[in-house]
């Protein structure tokens, strides 16, 4: 039977090991799985390496949605700049013109954004926080009055 001191040492050893494992795993994972968010204005101001996974967001521009077979093209805007997006698949149920959306994917060399996921909220009064910030940054935000309370939900479409 171990002595109390030996046991304490064993606890410390195990605890240290657990912390070290956790930290090592987190650092490895962070290296390549963090996805940054950009607004259309930010995209237009900097060059991103093609293929880098990013998230973008804005309002779907009225009249921009065009479906061709399984592929949909549309553009989003933060009221200052807009960005063309191409997506293959079934869009979320509440994807509509004028709605705030967030899309994840990467920039093509042509300057079009290839989306692999499109996230839209299931409530007209809801605005993804990033989109609201982007529109605020573009200086066009007028919606600071308290939003009407309603249960909202959203869907994300993934191919």
């Amino acid at each position: 039977m171990a002595k109390r001191k030996t046991q304490r040492l064993y606890f410390i050893l195990l605890g240290g090991l657990a912390v070290a494992t956790g930290v090592a795993l987190v650092l490895t994972a962070f290296e390549d799985s963090i996805v940054f968010f950009y607004s259309p204005t930010e995209i237009s101001q900097q060059t991103l390496s093609p293929g880098q996974r990013i998230r973008i967001g804005g309002l779907v521009e009225t009249g921009s949605v065009n479906a061709e077979g399984e592929t949909t093209t549309f553009s989003v805007t933060d009221t200052a700049e807009s960005l063309n997006i191409v997506y293959r698949g079934i869009l979320p149920d509440l994807f509509r013109e004028g709605q705030g959306i967030v899309a994840e994917g990467y920039m093509l060399a042509s300057g079009t954004f290839q989306a692999s996921d499109v996230l839209a909220k299931h409530d007209e009064t809801y605005m993804p926080p990033e989109v609201a910030d982007a529109i605020k940054a573009a200086g066009e935000w007028r919606g600071d009055e308290p939003q009407q309370e309603a249960t909202s939900n959203s869907t994300m479409a993934s191919p």
């Binding site: 494992t21 390549d32 996805v35 968010f37 698949g89 869009l91 993804p128 249960t151 959203s154 869907t155």
Partner: protein
């Protein structure tokens, strides 16, 4: 009139909760039996009052009383009765009311059935329950009152979000809350024990059944949420590492750790202060989960619209609960009597390592979930942490944990013989080899096939090892059938429960591995008569028609699927547009053939062409996820039915322990 009765009852519940929070606590400090005795009746009265409030709100929903704003915003006369009732908790205010109702029911259960508990521990635990109740009742009454009226009365309600009009999601929140709030019992008993300055085997016996019940409900609740996301959202996925999903999963991880460390406290009186810490942390994480879901500060797939003042209120509650209990812990925990000693190779040690894996996993998932907030606060940029992060950190932690799950239950307390245990598992190892070879031969030798097969082999290890342990305890191959049956009956239910739950975990791992590795999908714009192929299935589209549901209009497609010369199955996916609110939902058609699903989603097509975007998925092993979760929940219930876990029993059982020791 009824809403006023409900409102009044709810307002009365607040002072009752305050009395429950402080009078017994004062009594316990003064050792005044009369003051301590206030706790029980206060807890019962609180349940009665909150129950009345909940009934009044439910009645308003059933009767479609739109003069109540909450009913107006979330209900509609055309809604089926089930969704009128589930609408009560399908919104912020009502779901919080359900939260405190469950809290009050748990408190009342302690008051009514906790006769065997020492008076002071009971008084203090109920007082802590009263404090939690006070906080949440104040939250409801001051920021989220479900009984507010509107004048003039609207003629019709706005309706419930159609996504929530679903049988799975109707019972998902109550299950989840039974789990979340159930952990408040462990928390209250932990704080009470810190106040007492005493944690022993008897304490663990009192806390275990509550923790077990909470864990079982949370398991089933998370499972239901995942099942709902799978069939309702139409993405063919069942887990997205979304913040709201993580919010319920993190307390599950620490709750699972708590469930196991309580066994060590009960059997060996070791790991006491660690267990207390886990109890505090688990409930704190449940509160954090409520906060994350209710505040809307994270961009989530399942985000609920929210109002910042509420977020601040929950955050304040969280700070008081966590700060207060951890401060108490820091002062009192070092004074707890040191526990029993054990060797590094022992059951205790196995359970401790299990706890460390689960706690590390919980911490890494928590970090990933909160990192976007931290980065935002530190102005590191606007970013998100997605599934790749969680898979990278979580899987390497779970693999060794599952390997250990096979060995741990066979280890002896205090000091065990690892070589002996492994020798008994030779048969299981042989079985694992066979399963791995079989999986590879059926799938292939690509990297993904090897990964999927390895996952299934891991599940086989857990399944066979759990079976070996159970077979050893009932002496399966050594007794005549009649004696064997006696032996099975004599084995404590808790042991059967553990085996069922561990095997359920194995079945779940088959589902996770198989569906991640071998899912197939295809997408095509189709007109009537055309065929889409997925995983060898020919899925032919026969056209779509518009049908009318109780409160929606639906475009329903008809598909037939065959594989080879097999019999055709008919699939009817829908795309519904609800009347009120006018929202669209996708109803996937799923055909389950025991081990795999064929999953078809009807999308929109170019307008007026009769053509639709169709997505077809082959989802192997997904049903195993649901079987596994049901087995885990069942294991918890079987274990809960153990005589030793009955609430009245602990005192007697504890005295037997004393006798055995003496």
């Amino acid at each position: 009139m009824n809403p006023e009765i409900g409102h009044y009852a709810l307002a009365l519940a607040l002072p009752v909760a305050l009395v429950q929070a402080f009078v017994p606590l004062f009594g316990a400090a003064r050792r005044d039996a009369a003051l301590m005795a206030v706790a029980g009746p206060a807890a019962l009265l609180q349940m009665l009052l909150i129950g009345t409030a909940f009934a009044a709100l439910t009645q308003a929903f059933i009767a479609s009383d739109f003069s109540v704003i909450n009913v107006y915003q979330n209900s509609h006369t055309a809604k089926p009765l089930l969704y009128k009732i589930s609408g009560v908790w399908g919104n912020h205010e009502g779901s919080l009311l359900l939260w405190v109702l469950i809290l009050a029911v748990f408190g009342a259960a302690v008051a009514a059935f906790g006769g065997a508990l020492p008076d002071r521990l009971k008084a203090r635990a109920l007082a802590v329950q009263g404090m939690i109740g006070t906080g949440f009742l104040a939250f409801i009454l001051f920021t989220s009152n479900p009984f507010l009226r509107v004048n003039p009365t609207p003629a019709q309600g706005l309706g419930l979000n159609p996504l929530l009009q679903d049988p799975g999601l109707a019972i998902h929140p109550p299950m989840l809350y039974l789990g979340y709030v159930g952990f408040s019992m462990a928390f209250s008993f932990a704080v009470a024990a810190l106040l007492e300055g005493r944690v022993d085997a008897a304490w663990a016996r009192w806390v275990r059944p509550w923790t077990l019940a909470a864990w079982s409900f949370l398991t089933v609740g998370i499972g239901l949420g995942s099942w709902w996301a799978y069939y309702e959202l139409g993405w063919g996925g069942w887990w997205f590492w979304d913040p709201v999903e993580n919010a319920s999963f993190i307390p599950w991880l620490t709750g699972t750790a708590l469930l196991h460390s309580l066994i060590v406290v009960e059997k060996r009186e070791a790991l006491k202060s660690w267990t207390i810490l886990l109890a505090i942390v688990t409930f704190s994480l449940s509160l954090l989960g409520t906060f994350l879901v209710r505040s809307g500060i994270l961009t989530s797939v399942h985000a609920f619209a929210s109002d910042p003042t509420r977020g601040v209120f929950v955050l304040a509650l969280l700070a008081i609960a966590v700060g207060g209990s951890l401060t108490l812990y820091a002062i009192r925990a070092p004074k707890l009597e040191p526990g029993g000693l054990f060797s590094p190779i022992s059951r205790e040690s196995g359970l401790l390592i299990n706890n460390l894996f689960l706690a590390t996993a919980a911490a890494t998932v928590l970090l990933g979930t909160l990192y976007p907030l931290i980065a935002d606060a530190l102005e590191l940029g606007n970013l998100s942490v997605g599934a790749p992060y969680f898979n990278t950190v979580f899987i390497p932690l779970m693999v060794p944990l599952v390997l250990l799950m096979g060995i741990g239950p066979m280890m002896a307390w205090k000091r065990s013989d690892l070589a002996g245990v492994l020798a008994r598992l030779k048969g299981a190892l042989f079985g694992v080899g066979l399963v791995f070879a079989l999986a590879l031969s059926l799938s292939g030798i690509d990297a993904i096939d090897i990964a999927g097969s390895a996952g299934i082999a891991l599940a086989a290890w857990l399944f066979f090892a759990s079976f070996t342990e159970w077979a050893g305890r009932v002496r399966l191959f050594k007794l005549s059938p009649a004696n064997l049956w006696k032996r099975v009956r004599a084995l404590p239910r808790a042991s059967h429960g553990m085996t069922i739950a561990h095997m359920g975990m194995a079945v779940l791992i088959v589902g996770v591995s198989g569906s991640s590795a071998w899912k197939q999908e295809n997408i095509l714009t189709m007109g009537a008569g055309e065929t889409i192929t997925v995983a060898g299935f020919d899925v032919t589209f026969h056209g779509a028609e518009t049908i009318r549901g109780p409160n929606y209009e639906s475009v329903q497609g008809t598909f037939s699927a065959t594989r080879g010369d097999g019999k055709a199955v008919t699939l009817k996916p829908e795309r519904r547009i609800y009347d009120q609110p006018a929202q669209q939902t996708t109803e996937a058609a799923i055909h389950t053939a025991f081990w795999a699903d064929l999953y078809v989603v009807l999308g929109e097509g170019p307008a007026d062409t009769g053509r639709y975007v169709v997505r077809a998925y082959f989802e192997p092993f997904v049903p195993f996820l649901w079987y596994g979760i049901l087995m885990m929940g069942l294991g918890g219930l079987v274990s809960l039915s153990d005589r030793r876990h009955r609430i009245g029993a602990p005192l007697r059982a504890a005295s037997i322990v004393e006798l055995a020791k003496g």
